[in-house]
Symmetry: D3
Subunit: 281 residues, 6 copies
Amino acid sequence: MQMGWKRIEEIVDRALAEDVGWGDVTTEALVPAELTGRASFVAKAHGILAGVEVARLVFHRVDPAVQFDITITDGNSIQPGDAVAVVEGKVASILKAERTALNFLQRLSGIATETNRYVEVVKGLGSRIVDTRKTTPGLRILEKYAVRVGGGHNHRLNLGDGVLIKDNHLAALRSRGLAMKDIISRARERAPFNLKVEVEVRTAQEAVEAVEVGADIVMLDNMGLEEMRQAVLLVKGRALIEASGGITLDNVRRVAETGVDLISIGALTHSVRSLDISLEM
Amino acid sequence: MQMGWKRIEEIVDRALAEDVGWGDVTTEALVPAELTGRASFVAKAHGILAGVEVARLVFHRVDPAVQFDITITDGNSIQPGDAVAVVEGKVASILKAERTALNFLQRLSGIATETNRYVEVVKGLGSRIVDTRKTTPGLRILEKYAVRVGGGHNHRLNLGDGVLIKDNHLAALRSRGLAMKDIISRARERAPFNLKVEVEVRTAQEAVEAVEVGADIVMLDNMGLEEMRQAVLLVKGRALIEASGGITLDNVRRVAETGVDLISIGALTHSVRSLDISLEM
Amino acid sequence: MQMGWKRIEEIVDRALAEDVGWGDVTTEALVPAELTGRASFVAKAHGILAGVEVARLVFHRVDPAVQFDITITDGNSIQPGDAVAVVEGKVASILKAERTALNFLQRLSGIATETNRYVEVVKGLGSRIVDTRKTTPGLRILEKYAVRVGGGHNHRLNLGDGVLIKDNHLAALRSRGLAMKDIISRARERAPFNLKVEVEVRTAQEAVEAVEVGADIVMLDNMGLEEMRQAVLLVKGRALIEASGGITLDNVRRVAETGVDLISIGALTHSVRSLDISLEM
Amino acid sequence: MQMGWKRIEEIVDRALAEDVGWGDVTTEALVPAELTGRASFVAKAHGILAGVEVARLVFHRVDPAVQFDITITDGNSIQPGDAVAVVEGKVASILKAERTALNFLQRLSGIATETNRYVEVVKGLGSRIVDTRKTTPGLRILEKYAVRVGGGHNHRLNLGDGVLIKDNHLAALRSRGLAMKDIISRARERAPFNLKVEVEVRTAQEAVEAVEVGADIVMLDNMGLEEMRQAVLLVKGRALIEASGGITLDNVRRVAETGVDLISIGALTHSVRSLDISLEM
Amino acid sequence: MQMGWKRIEEIVDRALAEDVGWGDVTTEALVPAELTGRASFVAKAHGILAGVEVARLVFHRVDPAVQFDITITDGNSIQPGDAVAVVEGKVASILKAERTALNFLQRLSGIATETNRYVEVVKGLGSRIVDTRKTTPGLRILEKYAVRVGGGHNHRLNLGDGVLIKDNHLAALRSRGLAMKDIISRARERAPFNLKVEVEVRTAQEAVEAVEVGADIVMLDNMGLEEMRQAVLLVKGRALIEASGGITLDNVRRVAETGVDLISIGALTHSVRSLDISLEM
Amino acid sequence: MQMGWKRIEEIVDRALAEDVGWGDVTTEALVPAELTGRASFVAKAHGILAGVEVARLVFHRVDPAVQFDITITDGNSIQPGDAVAVVEGKVASILKAERTALNFLQRLSGIATETNRYVEVVKGLGSRIVDTRKTTPGLRILEKYAVRVGGGHNHRLNLGDGVLIKDNHLAALRSRGLAMKDIISRARERAPFNLKVEVEVRTAQEAVEAVEVGADIVMLDNMGLEEMRQAVLLVKGRALIEASGGITLDNVRRVAETGVDLISIGALTHSVRSLDISLEM
């Protein structure tokens, strides 16, 4: 799993601090410290698994002595009844880690599953499904990972690693008399030279214009299918084209058929349905 | 807004660090530092507003000089087109804070809205809608706040501030020969004396038994409506009764009609649909 | 030892940062890095041991290679001359950890010892000795642990995990026209449902009144023995009764004899006398 | 108040996090957010005040809008009934900050008061009363401040800002064949040149020997009064002399009369009795 | 100054913690707390000023009441004797902040000055002077800022915001049978789509080859001038060209004359000579 | 290596966070996760090695499984071509740690090498070469370590562990009518008794005067050689003498020949030239 592991440790530690508080008063009162047991993560629904190593990390941050064996790795599809992983160790540790581990695993698998639905629908066409910055505050790195696990691709991680000139930028600059040409050449000159310049456009005509003055990527914002097709035709491979806005499982294939390179979907991360997975002792 | 404000600042700061990274390369390249502007948060859907003060905090952490005027406060219902708040200040600051502020506001309003649907459905009956520990890692305090804004109530915040003896505890202890009576009296003796003792039960009979040996609250886990009614009847107000598991908008009123005191619903927080709100310059 | 171990690590790390600063200039100048040695923690006074695992943690945070063997575990009574633990490893590491380890061990043992004196005095009667929030800033979790080691019980950990309506709350609310009944029913309605409601009262009469309108626990504040007896009589087991204020080793047995359930004593933690333990090379 | 203010803020924030937890459930349930009030810190015992600015900081970290007026400043002696400070603002804020503020104020005043007792007893003689590293973990900077407020002086803050060759160092080095002379010259050569070299000695003869080979300070460890007098006589002002070990209010004047420069007392900080101060609404 | 201000605050706070330690013992012993004064930052050498707002931040973190008036702003050239800024406030605060402020100001001005020398030498030619990742650990954001102040441009900030396929990558991949074409197309496919792909090459021929299979930028590593000219000729503007390795003030103009777009110089930040600026009371 | 290891871990972690960001996009896109390799740190210049254990720490923080074998330890002189250390493990880990490890190693070796040049020049004379507080913000502990590795000695670490009365202190105090005698006796009385008192002086006469009223060390600030000789003569070993200001490799031997005890040189750390060391796969 290629992620910034140290930052994930911090996320996990905070989640545990939040869920365990000053200690598990029920377990400490009732369960003998030395009692050991065994439990399985069992899928209760169809989907794509994501986050099982995060779940393992949760257990190991609570108690490094817990044995956590992964049966199914991230990216595989799961069916109700599948045993995803088996955990063995002190019952007190298992009970302390359980909820936090499930909260990560269910959410990340939910994202991977939803992403994968889109990826399957556009299969065979050239478009990539990409995410947005509409992620849950504090979990971006994990949610973007889950998108990749589901077969999607990542848009920029944050405001510092991608140039994206949005309508609000254009409006502010045009009101000061700058044309698209000026705006893009200013971006090329002042922004880090290793970043591509992406511009949000409203019409096919604007798309072409942006590409001709140097845009590396154009984002077609809430454009109709016909207009998109037009944009693809006119840009002729001189830049990447991203479709954005109002895209659902119902219309995504038609969007892909226009020939756009990238289709970005906020709902992959802003409206997640947890995938049902439970821990059975 | 009664929340642990300092912890929310930390959550906001982490979200900004995550979204802004080392700086907004687009805005820094293009937007003159001194340019000022004005933007409105506008509702695009029906729902209950939650998190507008968190949105304000996001702006103030980015730039304390930004003016952020709240028109509609948390807990009010909003309609498409409603202006929720107006922000005024440096355009560069507004663009930097925008996405993070929306990510909080949309998610929290989504939770409040969904919670409120349940609350409305059970209106007039005595049951409270309560949340669970199935929250997004790192956001529990905010999500539980949104549940309250929507008219719901909070279950324990974490493992340290509530005694809840779940099936896994019971299984582990019964396998060592302890009866319900022993288990509950051990909990009363060893857990902090100011916490009520709650026990998860599977049958009405078990519910009564638990109450008779000292449980303060019984949680009816995935019980049928008839069995719930029975439990309410037998317990006769000697303890609080919580219904849990498989509860949806479709069946929640029937559950409430059984007379249970509390109805807990994981989906309030584990499967959130963002409420559509946007920032218009 | 059932404690929030991670938080204790943070406490220990801060204590070491404070005591070691940028390095032990004396030891670094004089003691060869490779020199190894052996030292014993030796009791110099009678008491109850508490914190020996914290002392071990101190050594392991300084140098994980140090061998730390515990001879006597927390909760046992110790006599002058008893070897509590033996530490073996680099002399430089031992000298660096020594003072911090002792500062924890002596203080926690001091608390356990004092608590135990109270516990012994009330032996055979039904009252529990409990602590308060009058702990040393930053050490609450450890000091409350030491109270348990000494045979005492813990009152609420902080303002978030227990409802305790004190005289200042009552005064503020009564000045707004609320009666005890209103106040308690408001607390039951708005505070987390899994927390018991405790109220501070000045007379036996007030105690009964509070219980009759729903208090789960009444705290008898600075009440005379006769008044306490009266309160116990009138409440008749319908709620827990806590005695508080002005309780010393001299009068604690008489207080217990009144039949109160809980006796809380601030001095257990606000006025600690370190138990004399030293490290001998 | 000359202290590392930023570090004290951290100490205060941690203390508040510990005491307030996720919020004050009682106050939030009962006290209207807008209700304001006024309270006084009132002394209940005789002593020396210390920490009133720390108490103010506690209130301001909870709520910057609280008005906190100091009537008596640190270092002044107080009598039962004296109003030390008056606080005015939201009742909810006052109740949240109360316990933590008192925990600091009572403890620091306790230390200043006890220190001052020693200082008064040796008045007129040339000896300074100094503290040790036997402080409460996490509070050293504050406790050493309280010692100064009480008229005492500070020994080194930590292992990094003072060279003190203790018996354990000597034992380790002598076992490798080094004489006092070698040890001290090694310390002078290798330790930071701006730190004085202090050595612990057991006899007057050893004291003289240490001074003659270059010690700047000698610490007389658990020495009898006659032996101390002898050491003072022999050293003849060529080095500072510190008496340490077994010093109480009963014998401290006699120790001072021997002519030692410094008298260090661990009990100033390891066995503190809180000074009784309360907050009255 | 467009920088991630919050992170700079953290850098400044750490620098102060490091330099002030637990307090300024000299100033606290000698300088009356209420004594105020005035001091000027005076240039002692020719150069380009950078970091004066960081210096102001240092003073404000020590004492927000200090008045800090900037006379010359970043990016201006300074002469010996120029007063850069004037600071006024408590003498104790000024003395505490002085060294840390100067350490930042001298170093950043040193970098801006050295960068500007290169920029001046290549003036009129099309090449940009760019920095590298050979920065001082912990100060990258500030050092890259100083490069910009000096007229240079920034290469990628870190490994996450730029694709740069170095010789070590090529070696590892070629040993597994991949050709340049495979490598670049794999990078385009798997790396974030908004980042340009840069490749390190050794010959003009390799440069062309890389561009033809899709490289956006080629880095000519330690290439001779003739070879560079050849590369520029063959690439014909289809990609950006960066010269790197062994570039000094003596040869940088000849490198620029080859027509490369970017000239990267590690010494801008790895071997800094502080610019002499002092604070005069 | 005797350093505050934990603080160095923090420095290393921050440096990695800064350099790796959210992940190494190039390596993650191209290098198979399981690919292993081997690389050597090879010297490219003459000098004194410093920081090889810090380089190891960098690798171990990235990936504890990397094998890092040190061939040459800190303090040894190195020649071009010398293999300093060999690292073996996952190629992805090696590439991620490479730059940060080199940034530390080159800088620290640069400092040790420069320090050693001074030490060699004054060899045979009694003067010690010492550093100053003119270090790189955030790296003081490491830079002072490198000075020791190069044979130099450390001046005070920060404002808290050494009393140094500078011209600015003297000016402020003399303007209030205090004489040198008053100033020094006030310092002895109020500053921690275990710290020596150092005073900055401008003339030999002032030096003697300071020593006679109790200064332990005098710092001759920017004094001529003849004046220094005079100061040494007059002080006659009654205090340590430090020369400071304007000292270079060209004049340092003549300064040492005057008989001063300490020669402090800011350029050791404020103007560092990295020592060329590279990592070869």
